[in-house]
């Protein structure tokens, strides 16, 4: 019986192909919008997550001051860290994979007659691990180079390109803020960060070299810590805060004069934000589904009126109310499900094009496709019910007389 009803519904829909297609257009647009927005949203989320992961997702950044943007946020205002703080963190905090102290300074780098202004970072080999940098050529610092503060440096891809073009810079000498450094390595390019910064525009030299020969003190402006896999970064963060409060003699009622930024936390904030945006866009798209549903209801009502006599015949020869109800309900569900299928196809197509245009990953999620399909079917049930009930409750005598 149900199977017959489904076949009947298909036949009714095929009889009025033009009208049926216009009827489901609202659903098609609604579903396509939901699918496109949600798929692109997932892509954006994944992209953000990937970018943060490229920063080092297990990374914690410790800086003096009270946050990035709050009052007194400028890192210079608070007491900087020293070598001993780094050693203390490395020795006393559990669950740490690597600790990289660093100091940064903007400066000129000159090679031959080419001149480039860049970020000069002083750190240790740990920095490569913590920030997940890999070398495209050459080598990293040796322990003795680090200890002695040798004048060696590793170039970021952008600096290399600006100063040397296609030439091999390994072994070449560059002037960095007035001192002469030998280029011993090249970083593999990472590209732009989510903020639009060129991550490759920097130069790394041993921390000691930068401190003694350029900056002129032993201040450490930030400590990057990489937690071991599977270790809670929140726990590591807490431990570090505790340790630093002791070391910096901060009383129980005093605010920290340093802050720890948990990349995992930032990642969840960012992905959370894109997720909310996705949900909002999805909700807007769902409204168009609703409008599509009203379109279906409208046409089903017209159809019931047009087919009053048919309904009368069916009732006269023994159709129950529920038989007629089911017939029209199935028809509206089949209609709206068709709309859903077309909408899914269009939506995925649009999302694939959009992802390519915006250089984002295209993430097909079967979940949202299933939800959209079920939802479109549900729209058919909800908006088909009233017309179907109207049909089922017709009086057979009146219906048979209907012209």
């Amino acid at each position: 019986m149900l199977w017959e009803t489904v076949i009947l519904a298909f036949r009714e829909i095929r009889r009025n192909v033009m009208r049926s297609s216009l009827t489901i257009l609202g659903i098609v647009i609604g579903v396509a919008a939901v699918i496109t927005l949600v798929t692109l949203g997932r892509g954006a989320t994944a992209q953000v997550a990937a970018e943060i992961a490229s920063l080092g997702s297990n990374m914690l950044q410790i800086r003096p001051g009270q946050g990035f943007r709050g009052p007194g946020g400028a890192s210079g205002a608070a007491k900087p860290f020293k070598e001993k703080d780094v050693t203390a963190i490395a020795q006393q905090i559990a669950g740490i994979a690597a600790v990289a102290p660093l100091t940064m300074r903007n400066g000129q780098v000159i090679a031959g007659n080419v001149n480039w202004s860049t970020n000069i970072t002083g750190s240790t080999t740990e920095y490569l691990f913590v920030r997940s940098w890999s070398l495209a050529a050459g080598r990293s610092f040796t322990d003795s180079e680090l200890r002695a503060g040798k004048s060696v440096c590793i170039l970021g891809a952008t600096v290399k390109k600006e100063l040397f073009g296609d030439q091999d810079p390994l072994g070449a000498r560059v002037r960095v803020s007035g001192i002469t450094c030998r280029v011993i390595g090249l970083f593999a390019a990472k590209g732009q960060s989510s903020g639009g910064n060129d991550q490759d525009d920097f130069l790394l030299m041993p921390l000691q070299t930068l401190q003694r020969r350029i900056v002129g003190n032993d201040d450490i402006s930030a400590i990057f810590v990489s937690a071991r896999d599977g270790v809670s970064t929140a726990k590591v963060r807490e431990d570090i805060e505790q340790l630093l409060r002791e070391r910096r003699r901060i009383g129980a009622n005093q605010a920290d004069d340093f802050f720890v930024r948990d990349m995992q936390e930032i990642m969840s904030t960012l992905t959370g934000t894109t997720r909310i945006l996705t949900a909002l866009l999805g909700a807007v798209a769902a409204v168009s589904l609703l409008v599509g549903g009203i379109g279906i209801m409208n046409i089903m009502l017209v159809s019931v009126t047009e087919r009053t006599r048919e309904i009368g015949i069916r009732l006269a020869i023994g159709a129950l109310e529920k038989d007629v109800l089911l017939q029209f309900l199935v028809e509206s569900v089949v209609l709206s499900s068709f709309g859903g299928l077309f909408g899914i196809a269009f939506g995925l197509g649009a999302a694939a094009l959009g992802a390519r245009a915006m250089d984002m990953p295209f993430i097909f999620s079967p979940g949202i496709v299933a939800v959209a399909f079920l939802f479109s079917g549900g729209v058919g049930v909800v908006f088909g019910f009233f017309p179907a009930r109207k049909a089922a409750r017709l009086d057979p005598i009146d219906a048979l007389r209907h012209e």
């Binding site: 017959e4 048919e310 015949i313 006269a316 020869i317 023994g318 129950l320």
Partner: protein, 240 residues
């Protein structure tokens, strides 16, 4: 061949039907008593407004009386619900209408199959029975034709096939020849007579035309919401 021992199929007792309420109340039937036995062929006649259509709707379980009892094979169906009435129609009644009332753009075979679908009969048996019914009205070669491709007489024969495909107890025909010319009307009447004679199908037919009523073995005349007893023409050898 008719005798009193034949089972009573339909028994109407003091049936009234009033449309509207209060001062607008319009009595259509004022107390009808009627007994119809298995195998009868009854012609229902009377001027419009006499209550014959109302009575046919009640007999066909399409409507319920305001008061009185309607025994169908001994069961009182006067106060059944909509769906229960639909089940009585599904299992015991067949309908033929003046306007044929076939489903448009649907083949003759599918039209005939329709009542079998609601009876839940499997598709193979459905085809078989519908083809047999079409053959019995002489339309075996027209099963793929839609009503639009058939003449009026052929359409009414499809409708007859649809009405008898379920082997109903009673066939209700509402002016079955009203839209047909004389020759086609005779074809239809001969079919009904044949089903009545050969299968013992009880036929109740509303008609305006005395020529058509003459095919029936019994005539009932309605006047002002009552059956005119004097005119209840009974075939010889049988009393009402």
């Amino acid at each position: 061949m008719m005798d009193q021992s034949l089972a009573t199929i339909i028994e109407l007792q003091s049936i009234t039907k009033v449309y509207g309420t209060g001062s607008a109340a319009m009595p259509a039937l004022r107390g009808i008593d009627l007994t119809i036995r298995a195998g009868e062929f009854v012609a229902v006649m009377g001027p419009s407004g006499s209550g014959k259509s109302t009575c046919m709707n009640i007999l066909g379980c399409l409507d319920t009386p305001t008061s009185g009892s309607y025994l169908f094979e001994g069961q009182n169906v006067a106060s059944l619900s909509r769906d229960q009435l639909a089940l009585v129609r599904r299992h015991y009644l067949g309908f033929i209408f003046q306007g044929f009332n076939l489903l448009n753009r649907t083949s003759a075979l599918e039209n005939v199959e329709l009542p079998l679908i609601y009876r839940g009969i499997p598709v193979a048996e459905r085809h078989r029975r519908a083809r047999a019914a079409l053959a019995s009205v002489g339309l075996a070669d027209r099963e793929r034709h839609t009503p639009g491709e058939l003449s009026g007489g052929q359409q009414q024969r499809v409708a007859i096939a649809r009405a008898i495909v379920t082997d109903p107890t009673v066939l209700l025909a509402d002016e079955p020849t009203g839209n047909l010319d004389t020759a086609r009307s005779r074809e239809v009447m001969e079919l009904l007579t044949a089903f009545n004679r050969d299968r013992g199908l009880t036929v109740i037919m509303v008609t305006h035309e005395p020529d058509m009523a003459a095919y029936a073995k019994r005539q009932i005349h309605f006047r002002d919401g009552l059956i005119d007893d004097a005119d209840d023409t009974v075939i010889p050898g049988r009393s009402a």
